[in-house]
Symmetry: C2
Subunit: 463 residues, 2 copies
Amino acid sequence: MASLAPAHAQRAAKAAKAAATASRVDLTDSLALRKIFDEALLRGQSYENLRYLTGTIGARLSGSPQAQQAVEWGKLTMEKAGFDRVYLQEVMVPHWVRGSKERGEIVGNKGKEIKVALCALGGSVGTNGKLKAGVVEVRSFDELRKLPEAAVKGKFVFFNRPFDDALIEPGTAYGRAGDQRRSGAIEAAKRGAVGALVRSLTSARDDNPHTGNMSYDPAVTKVPAAALSTLAADQLSLLLKANPGLEFELQMECQTLPDEKSYNVVGEIKGSKYPEQIITVGGHLDSWDLGQGAHDDGTGVVQSMEAVRLLRATGFRPERTVRAVLFMNEENGNRGGIEYARLAALNKETHIAAIESDGGGFTPRGFNVESEPAIMAKMAVWGPLLQPYHANSLTAGHGGTDIGPLKEAVKPKALIGYDGDSQRYFDIHHTAADTFDKVNKRELELGGASMASLIYLLSKYGL
Amino acid sequence: MASLAPAHAQRAAKAAKAAATASRVDLTDSLALRKIFDEALLRGQSYENLRYLTGTIGARLSGSPQAQQAVEWGKLTMEKAGFDRVYLQEVMVPHWVRGSKERGEIVGNKGKEIKVALCALGGSVGTNGKLKAGVVEVRSFDELRKLPEAAVKGKFVFFNRPFDDALIEPGTAYGRAGDQRRSGAIEAAKRGAVGALVRSLTSARDDNPHTGNMSYDPAVTKVPAAALSTLAADQLSLLLKANPGLEFELQMECQTLPDEKSYNVVGEIKGSKYPEQIITVGGHLDSWDLGQGAHDDGTGVVQSMEAVRLLRATGFRPERTVRAVLFMNEENGNRGGIEYARLAALNKETHIAAIESDGGGFTPRGFNVESEPAIMAKMAVWGPLLQPYHANSLTAGHGGTDIGPLKEAVKPKALIGYDGDSQRYFDIHHTAADTFDKVNKRELELGGASMASLIYLLSKYGL
């Protein structure tokens, strides 16, 4: 030790002191968090905000009039809540519309028709009238590739691999079944199929079809793609076993219109000590057109605004700048997330962390963190403060789609996803059943307060 | 050490070895638990059992024909599941009936009437025609006792203390507001009131009245007691401020009939090594008459049967005897729980632990344990095994009402309550909205598997 040069020794002492400060949590913090939760549970505004967003505005797919209403509402709501600065970030977004007609029928022996529950996948082309063809069922792209040409050509490919229900996290099951929805139409068309029918991405057995984004390959013919409800998928599968020659008739009038102008909505509170250091907290304002976009992602939107409001309402002036961002177009393009990151880089902003809530407004468990072990360890020190609220789980995992582009653009120290209990999420995800009544007020509020608590700590101690 | 007599040394060595064995968990256990969860999530029977119990049989208040149907169904279900022995324990239960008419109106200025949502509290006497009187609002028994006689005599006492929403556990809020429902009628009558109107025990603001048990004091006049929905309570409170002289008109035809014969249903698997050591797992078969008794406590019933079935289905032969018990009459008397304990003592049974699920069939957090610190520490060793299923929380707390009487009767080493996330529970608890559709299949199954896992460990290692 004595052999260290004085400058080294000073630096080492300073670093040790900084580390001690950064990992120190005290009674003040414990009481501050209790105050945040009190405010959320006793005088919370997120539930009534969500009622308006989902009930009065409703579903708000990118490019729709409702998405524009949501932008104006978000701006107004943050202005009324007394944010230092509220502004819009312009971004061009895709504009896909479902059209008025959408139907499918299994045409069995002797022309008997059975109507089934389905919906177009987001981004799909329409059928240009009625499209009738045979059906070939597969469980994977591999299975499809191994089929002889004659078995696929001119038919619908029916992708019917279910969720793996043994997985404890439904999000993992969603991820593993997702290729069918995202790329099913491409893989089907490559083999000469006329369309793709995809089993809805859910464990639930019911008649709600689940929409969601799909994509085309410019080098491959665009064929229409629809999601069948799980009951419809089970029925089709059973009937195919009895009668492999049955046909399916699909009619969809969906289409992609020219891009529309839209906006991210940003509300900011200037940091009192390090205003140049930014903490982002956000959800996405757009939603699918079925249902009301309640859990996906109305809850993330109102929780993000609420998290910042809670800090203000409890008299806490953050040392670092806090930004609530209502991102546009997460569902079918992520244009808002990309634009937010582009501007952050362009303006040479310093982002220390970004938090996203886009897994539904369910009871807190904690946070998923994309970061380095040393940063995770720093955050783990805060665990005991969040434990009374059951929000202390810290897992290495996905931060969020909207905040994702920040990673390359401005290299924040952590991308953080709010982690709520998600067992119910995929029952209603992207369906007509994703409505306000599915959201529990207390679960929503506990989530928002957990996010506010993390922002309090990030703002006070940095990362 | 050398000074120990050989016998002492041997005993000490034996004890040390036993302790090591008791706290050892190994890969076998980890794989056994994964097998249990696979069986629950992929081939679970609890959800379909619950569908039958709630949908086909429905609400099943003690003494009702539906309660008897539930007894027969429970016995048959366990017999079909291949339990070693299934039998009934006879018990006499109270038989209260709601009657066909149940209504309440606020009678304001100029005789204008506003109908409000209410229901009789379980056990209440009827009104014997229409009962019309003024209303005095209080928040506590203390406040009531301090009122002058004239302010109370001949009126309804309106107990309107809300849930404390700042509490993180809704069960605690329920406990703290519960005296109004349980003893409101007694306290009101003591002061000469004609009836009690009680704010429903919930955080939710809606028009569902919440029933629940109330009691009378043999020394005090029996006056009728009703629960108002929270919206009705808020309305009545507001109108009282504007017009303290308003009246309330109540009509209820509920009554208590003679006791009925009923049963606990017990299903047993004999322990392979220590058959005399018993582990009980149970829920209560009776429910309130509104709704379907889904979360309260259909879920506990089907989870208890499922927990034992899961052990069998995964090829596990428990070393200790495991008993699934479907208790009768938890809601308004606990006669089943008392009788089960009485017989256990009479037969000099050895009970090492009893588990109850009666907080709704929600996502697991872990278990509440009534025991000594040394036993808690022993159980804590199992935490890492339950962690992958988010069921590893171990909290000192209430085991359960049905298993409660075992404590005095046979002194089990631990009374254990299944601890699920309860934020949604009191929205629907004891209401017409406690129906099958409120139960999520995966949450139910994860809970049953968590209980089975704990039984596996208790049976293997003892306590």
